[in-house]
Structure formats: structure tokens, C-alpha cells
Symmetry: C2
Amino acid sequence: MSESDHKQEQIIETALKRFAHFGINKTTMSEIADDLSSSKASLYYYFPDKASLILAVIKHLLKIYHTEITKHFRKAGSVKEGLYSIIDIRNSFARKYFMLHLGSEGLQDITVNEQAIKTILREAEQAEITLLAELLEKDMAKGIARERDARATARTAIDMMIGLHLSSIVKKERRIIPDESHFDELTKQQKFACDLLIEGINK
Amino acid sequence: MSESDHKQEQIIETALKRFAHFGINKTTMSEIADDLSSSKASLYYYFPDKASLILAVIKHLLKIYHTEITKHFRKAGSVKEGLYSIIDIRNSFARKYFMLHLGSEGLQDITVNEQAIKTILREAEQAEITLLAELLEKDMAKGIARERDARATARTAIDMMIGLHLSSIVKKERRIIPDESHFDELTKQQKFACDLLIEGINK
DNA sequence: ATTTGACTATTTGAATAATAAAGTCAAATA
DNA sequence: TATTTGACTTTATTATTCAAATAGTCAAAT
């Protein structure tokens, strides 16, 4: 890694810390520079504008997420284990990086190319579907799972988990920072839903 | 029905039409009065303030919804048919009354007792869960469905359908009025998910 | 008991000013 | 040459004002 790349990484990680704590809108470039004991102008040497820094931070975060998911999926022996990993990792990220408001309501009135963010979120989503679909195909090959369009099924299963997350947000008071118990209950419901999905309601 | 009750009903129905078309915020009390060829002051004879009119309109709407659902549930022979009814009726309401933004993002910055609305929405939700749980219990008695906590299962199934709806909103551009095809696609995905839920992924 | 016109009180929205933050650049540094 | 910086300009956000729109009231009329 070059000197320059290293500095970029540092900026991204520092920005992420502030974003996660105070939110993107409440974080100024000067503050990030101060955290680095550097100058604002220096930041602009590495990133053309705030929007591209935000984008880089989100990409960074998605990379971590993907690494984590991949690690778990290598150990997962079934679709169920895969889905459980997605639930746990997603919720731990949601807890940690709630202030970023990725997905759900967020990113509104942020001066950023919303389309670009949508695109990389979409890509991350596709990668996740692929991983789960592969697991499902293995289960189908083993004769554990019924034959069925693996991608469509994986996509719907993930959408359901995301959907339950969104449902839980909507039911809470708006604009309130959720507490630990909120995520605990959500995880419980998602796993219950997951079990339903896996086992099926009918005999 | 007394004369007074009749006038109240008229006001509610007129208000609903305007709310559905232009949204609650863009509808003034004067406009509602004009639609009724009446005076604004007259409205205030029947409703103490705008907030209580809004609440009455939402209650009215939920009553219609509940009637519709109940009608379908009497004919439904299985949980699957029940869930399909919920999907169809919910989506038809979402199409028709989108401008009210019930659930999802909406109701923000409306001068109304948000807690009161949450409460009646919660009640409506509970009633719906009860209906679906009854159907599920019948299926369990018939030996079609596995034995399982009927209420928790019904609740999760409905939450999933709502969740998929929310997912679809989040994935679209924000603050855009959705078109027909959006709801068509949503319905399709919800039914696919419903089938998964019912049949189960595994053999 | 209900309706109304004429009223007041509140809220909203547009315009403006003040402030803060984004973004630039020539000169300095290493 | 690559990087950093303080001082700068530009752009965006926030606070403030004020007129217009809307909510809400009430005594008099039906």
C-alpha cells in the first residue's frame, strides 16, 4: 500500500467514526481534518468533494460487511445457517452504524449522488443474494431443499428480513435512536420468520 | 342515524376524497367546507379541530378496510387464501389512498396526535392478526398446517407482507408517487413470498 | 340544534440576512 | 515532485422577519 493509499484509508476510517457517531450531516470536513490533526485542504487533496468521501466510506463499510458475510458463509452448512448469519451481521451493523441511515429512511437531504449510493447498495445486495442462492442450490442438490428458482427464493428471503427490519422501524416513534432491546426483539422476530420460511407452515 | 351523525359522515367522506387526492397537508378546512357547500365554521361545529377530523377519516377508512377483509375471510378456505386477500386488499388501498401516507414514511409534520393514530392502526393490526390466526387454527385442526403459535405466526406473516411493501418503497426513488406497475410487481413478490411461507423451502 | 359571516389567533412560506460549512489556491514544506 | 497548509472565496444552511394563508372562535341569525 502506498503512502497515499494509507492516508486515504485513514481519512475514510476517521470519517466513518464521526459519521457513525453524529451522522453524515452533522459531520464537517473541518472536524474530520481536526481528528486527523491535519488540515481541511489536505482532505481535498485526497477527495475531490465531501460526496466522494461519503461514497468511499460507504464502499468501505460494504466491503467489511461483505468480508464478514463471506467468512460466515464458508462455515454455513445450510440455507438456514446462512440466513441466520445475514440476520445477525445485518443487525449488528444496524446497531453500530445506525446514524448513517443506510437503506431505510436515510440519506435524505444529503448533498450526495444518491443514485451512486443506490447503485453500490444494489451491487452489495446482489452479491449477498448470490451467496445465499449458492447455499440454497447446495441444499437442493443434497435433497434437503425443494427444487425452486434459487435466486428468486434467496432474494425474497433477504427482502423479508429487510422488510421486517423496516416494519420494526415504522412501528417505533420516528426519528428516535433505537435502543438495544429494539434490535434484540427484531432479531428474535426475524429468526422466527426465518424458521417459518425454512420449515414451512404446512405439513 | 341522526341528522347530526349523517352530516358528520358527509364531512368525513368529503374530507377523505380531498385527502386521498391531494394529501392531508394540502387540504384546507375551507376547501372541505366549500365541497359541502357549507361554511368552515359549520365544520367546527362537528369537529373540534382538524386533527380530530383527520382521526375520524382514518378510523372511517380502517372500518371500510376491516369490513372488506372480514368479507373475504368468510369465504377463505385456508391461510393461503386469507393471506392472498390481505395482500390484494392492502395493495388496492395503498394504491387508492397513497396520498394519506398511512404507515410507511407518512404523517410526518402533520399537526395531529400521532400517538392516537398509532393506537388505532395498532388496533386494526391486532384485529387482522386475529382473523388470520383463526384461519390458521382451522387449518391446524384440519391437519393441513403444523401445530404452532397461531397468533405469532399470523403476526409474522402479515409483518412480512408489510415489510415487503416497505422494502419496495425504499428501493424506489423517494417522494415519488408510485405507478400501477409498482404495485403489480409488489403484489407478485408478496404472493411469491407467501407461497414460500406456506409451502416451505424444505421438503 | 344548526348555520353563518365576520372576526382573531396560529401557522406557513417566501425573502433576507447572518452564519457555517464546502471548496480553492498560491505558497510553504519535506 | 508529492503533500500540506492558512487564508481565501463560494455555496449551503440556519435564523429571522413579515405578509399571506389557514386554523379556529363567537355572537347573531335561522
